[in-house]
Amino acid sequence: MSLLEISNLSKRFGGVVAVDSCSLSVPAGSVTGLIGPNGSGKTTVFNLVTGFLPRDGGDVRFKSRSIADLGPDRIYGLGIGRTFQLARIFPRLTALENMLVPVRRAGLRALLSHGQWGHEKARAMEMLEFMDISRVAGTLGGALSYGQRKLLELAAVMMARPELVLLDEPAGGVNPALLERIAQHIRQLNGQGVTFLLVEHNMNFVMNLCHQVVVLHQGRVIAAGSPAAVRENPAVLDAYLGA
């Protein structure tokens, strides 16, 4: 079953066509990689899917329901989370507070109740434990190291139990040890049923982690399939080495 279905998605910025009739599908329960040379439109696709940019054409369907015109908060409420290229957390809130911000159901009662913090707090600490950063729970986000922020960002996104998580360069700017940890976490979460779509440049990371890989070049999908197949694909090699 395809959890996320992108069909003929297009976006242009003035004269530049960033995304050109892009179509791809993310099967439920998979870890799908989205790769391509710089400027191929990967982050733009993310921004379109998560409601940060209005599309120029095409459709995005999540569980067969069109989400193309929804805002980012509605989309998170439906169960799609995302991380950003440069890990974004709330610097003036503590790590624990960062974990308590995400809102899944924006109902009046849920938000006014102070008591909700009780069980949310416990779960937040659990997630922090899971990511091995529970000892910095009381530290302000701005005082955390970059690696800690990356982990915190992912942990916070997971708070509302999203079914699909879009990771924008999860391996970006991290040392090999942390890289392995992140990969582990993704595998574990995937094992618990979370579907991932990740944009990455680190080929090893992608090839070891992903069930399927989609290649974007100049805004268009030029290849899709298993990591092995994509690796051998001449069009892909051309795009990376040629362009």
């Binding site: 921004n47 940019l53 950003f84």
Partner: protein, 291 residues
């Protein structure tokens, strides 16, 4: 109908004046991302400077520009350096408070020095007018408009034809990127503020020669100027000019068709209307902070 035509002409002429004042304000925002709510007070300061020179030396108000423009330019650079640059955190919010404080200080000082009585700048040509289409236009308005055009023209020239202007525009578009290509953004900011102040000096003369003013006049002035730059799009010079013309023409026509009292109100109603339809203003860019 005749009255409406006259209102339109008057609106265009005064629109030019407001365009001049608004241009400095929107330039400052564009370069430094700060809202200079003291801009109205600075214009009034310019007007009073000219007034003081005019009163003591009996020279034509337009000639006082030779002194006030460089003086205000220098003052602008100093203000930016002393009061704006030290603000590192929450710059947008704090600058509003700082510039407001400056405005209050200027208002107080001017009130102390000149009392709160209304004054006016006068030239020998004060009441001279010429007939056009069956009504009369006073020369002062035309002079003011011409001056506004000249200064605006100079501003556009500087911005689009000089290296300094290029640096300013680069800083406006993307401060970090500008720094990366070697633009000294601090210096550009200080100079841009100076330029903004220089336009305020010119605006002061034109405003003072077409309106009676006192130290408290800056409230009404700044509320109009802020409305204009929001309507035009924060940071857009083109927007400021067009918005100024639009606003003033509509206000003058409304004064004729409805009543002078409600004309000011129309000003704000237009703003609200535009914001509902196009929150970024006419020429503003819809900004999503950072994706």
């Amino acid at each position: 109908m005749q009255l409406v035509l006259e209102a339109v002409v008057l609106g265009v002429l005064t629109g030019g004046v407001y365009a001049l004042m608004a241009s400095g304000l929107t330039l400052i925002f564009g370069v430094m991302r700060i809202i200079n709510v003291g801009h109205g007070a600075l214009v009034i300061l310019g007007a009073y400077l000219s007034f003081a020179l005019f009163r003591s030396l009996h020279i034509d108000p337009f000639l006082t520009l030779l002194v006030t423009v460089p003086a205000m330019f220098a003052l602008g650079v100093v203000i930016q350096f002393v009061f704006i640059r030290p603000l590192k955190m929450d710059r947008e919010a704090l600058s509003v408070l700082v510039t407001y404080a400056l405005a209050l200080g200027i208002e107080g000082a001017l009130g102390y020095l000149f009392t709160t009585n209304y004054v006016e700048l006068r030239g020998w040509y004060e009441t001279a007018s010429f007939p056009v289409f069956g009504f009369y236009i006073t020369w002062v308005y035309v002079f003011g408009f011409v001056l506004a055009l000249v200064v605006l023209g100079l501003l556009f020239l500087i911005l689009y034809r000089t290296p300094f202007g290029g640096a300013v525009r680069a800083t406006m578009l993307n401060r970090t990127a500008a720094q990366l290509i070697g633009v000294d953004v601090d210096r550009v900011s200080a100079l841009a503020f100076g330029v903004g102040m220089a336009t305020a000096a010119a605006g002061g003369v034109v405003f003072g020669i077409t309106n009676a003013f006192n130290p408290g006049s800056h409230y009404d002035l700044i509320s109009r100027l802020l409305t204009i730059i929001v309507l035009g799009g924060l940071g857009s010079l083109r927007g400021a000019v067009i918005a100024a013309l639009m606003m003033l023409v509509t206000t003058e026509v409304a004064a004729v068709l409805i009543s002078p009292v409600w004309a000011s109100f129309v000003f704000f109603v237009i703003l609200v209307g535009v914001l509902i339809v196009r929150p970024q203003g006419l020429y503003g860019v819809r900004v999503r902070e950072r994706i």
